[in-house]
């Protein structure tokens, strides 16, 4: 778990502004994801979460800094890094099976048509869509469309799964079911996942680590929350865990106030002589006995 499978090293992304001086959405981000780890990024709109994900996907480039995956720097998109888009991004003129088969054929261009079809059907089976193969995306509900998106991403057996708020457009019930399934599939296959979300409960239920980002422009990683909940978690039970509200309150406090006033907090810390090192953002592990905000103890 401690292996740096994905290593994000000092990336920044600047956009030209009206005044001519480029404005950095985020700057000097450092964090790593171990093989098989599930990492969520959380933060307000405009902090550059999606840009970070697009850089990981190879769809965008950092202005400075590099991202190393499995020992190699990212140069453009790759079949090793599958993206599940927020808007599901299915090709509407293809059937459900056609959408998944398109990805399979892209991954293994030399496979026979039968083999591609069988593989695509298997992927659809995993997300519970057997029987809907020949429907067009327009005939599906939002949840089913996103299932196709998940099947398409999983079918190419990527090393890394990147998810950009995959469940935000779904109703609460469907969202819960899909979270369960994604968690099950990712655990079964030891999938490495980087996911963006706005939903605190979703992050706590799914993630091993939660990256908290301050508000943009000039967003930073405030800290990385090491999820204290046990690996074996059940949706129905997770909120009864003694540490659940410690984590939840910590993240909500961050989102409500600390993400906005992080610069002042940082200045106060500096006055106490605590120097921040962007290369190693503080890791916190909120536990039940440290519910009071600001009283969390550092884990390492």
């Amino acid at each position: 778990m401690s292996e740096r499978f994905i290593s994000i090293e000092g990336i920044a992304r600047a956009y030209p502004s009206a005044s001519g001086v480029p404005v950095a959405v985020f700057e000097d981000l450092w964090f790593s994801i171990g093989r098989g780890e599930f990492v969520c990024a959380i933060g307000h709109s405009g902090c550059g979460k999606t840009t970070v994900l697009n850089i990981l996907a190879g769809l965008d480039e950092p202005s400075t800094g590099v991202v190393v995956v499995d020992g190699k720097g990212i140069e453009g998109p790759s079949l090793d890094r599958a993206v599940i888009f927020q808007s599901h991004a299915l090709l509407p003129w293809k059937t459900v099976l056609g959408n998944v088969a398109y990805a399979v054929k892209s991954r293994w261009p030399n496979w026979s048509a039968d083999k591609i079809k069988a593989h695509a059907e298997k992927a659809l089976g995993v997300v519970g869509l057997s029987g809907a193969e020949f429907k067009k995306p327009a005939e599906l509900s939002g949840g089913m469309k996103q299932r196709v998106g998940i099947a398409r991403a999983l079918a190419i057996e990527p090393k890394i799964l990147l998810m950009d708020e995959p469940f935000s457009a779904l109703d609460a019930l469907t969202r819960g079911t899909l979270q369960d399934e994604v968690r099950r599939i990712c655990r079964d296959t030891s999938q490495t996942v980087f996911m963006i979300t706005h939903d605190v409960d979703e992050a706590i239920y799914l993630a091993d680590k939660i990256v908290l980002m301050t508000n943009g422009p000039g967003a930073q990683i405030a800290e990385i929350v090491d999820n204290p909940l046990p690996i074996e978690r059940a949706r129905a039970e997770v909120h009864k865990h003694p540490d659940y509200y410690a984590v939840r309150n910590h993240i909500v406090d961050f989102l409500v106030s600390r993400s906005r006033n992080f610069a002042e907090e940082e200045a106060a810390r500096l006055a106490r002589g605590v120097q921040r090192n962007n290369r190693h953002p503080p890791v916190v592990r909120p536990l039940a006995d440290t519910i009071m905000p600001g009283a969390t103890r550092a884990a390492s």
Partner: protein
């Protein structure tokens, strides 16, 4: 209720047609003998003078003539006497040739314009100036350069079909949803495969809409073009029958132009429906 709506609409169409034909019949029917005239002399004067009958043929005259044409649409009795079927076939063939050439140019060029902002901007002034030119204005230039009236007519069809197809293809290609392109990028799809499996199907409805506009314009223009170049075709037929003072045949030609135009539009609208996708 839903089943009766088409029926009721059809019924209303028939009533409107009936009123129109009736009014036409009454307006063109003679008012009877105007005066007692010697029959030999009356023959010389014609029915307009003797029976009060309009020179405009009535629906029954047109119907009779139409029946004659439909019974033998493909006869050929020399330069100025060919069946209406042959004339329409000539026009359709010219439109097909000019339109086909326009497809061959507009689709690839439209793709390039849609993909490249540079080429799009560079070609924009030319397209904007060429687009509003009446296709018939090209005719003298075409006749002088090509030195063949038949080919010149095809060129005129080509030039008038080109612009809607070109502009719609470029627009369709340029406005393919970013997320679909991103899907292709993350799947490492090569440029050619991307063009045929993502961009073309995504832009197809817009492209077909342009092609549908083009076929309509082409069919409008061919009639005028054939009036100018002469020889064969439904446009030439109209002008020839005007010179013959056969208003009946002119009306029949007008009807035939409408029917063929509708059929062409129907084909393209079916094709458009075939490639469009709900989102």
């Amino acid at each position: 209720m839903t089943k009766t709506l088409p029926f009721r609409a059809g019924l209303l169409s028939m009533v409107i047609l009936g009123i129109f034909l009736g009014a036409w019949h009454i307006a063109t029917a003679g008012s009877g003998p105007v005066a007692n005239i010697d029959p030999e002399y009356a023959k010389l004067l014609g029915q307009t003078a003797t029976q009060g009958k309009s020179a405009m043929p009535g629906p029954l005259d047109v119907g009779r003539a139409l029946w004659t044409h439909l019974r033998d649409p493909f006869y050929d009795r020399g330069t100025n006497d060919k069946g209406i079927g042959i004339q329409i076939a000539w026009s359709v063939a010219r439109v097909a040739a000019g339109y086909g050439l326009a497809i061959l140019v507009a689709l690839p060029l439209g793709f390039v314009i849609g993909m490249s902002a540079l080429i799009s901007r560079a070609l924009d002034p030319f397209i904007q100036i060429m687009k509003p030119i009446s296709p018939l204005a090209w005719m003298p230039l075409a006749l002088y350069t090509i030195k063949d009236s038949g080919l010149s007519a095809i060129f005129v069809i080509f030039i008038c079909s080109l612009w809607p197809m070109l502009i719609n293809t470029a627009f369709g290609v340029a406005s393919v949803r970013r997320e679909w392109l991103n899907v292709a990028r993350t799947l490492e799809v090569g440029p050619l495969r991307k063009a045929f499996t993502v961009i073309l199907p995504a832009a197809a409805p817009t492209i077909l809409t342009g092609m549908r506009i083009s076929i309509g314009i082409a069919w409008l223009v061919i009639v005028a073009a054939e009036m100018l170049v002469g020889g064969t075709g439904i446009g030439y037929f109209v002008w020839n029958e005007w010179n013959n003072l056969s208003i009946t045949n002119v009306i029949i030609a007008i009807l035939a132009i409408g029917v063929v135009g509708m059929a062409l539009d129907l084909v393209l609208s079916r094709l458009t429906r075939l490639v469009s996708y709900p989102e």
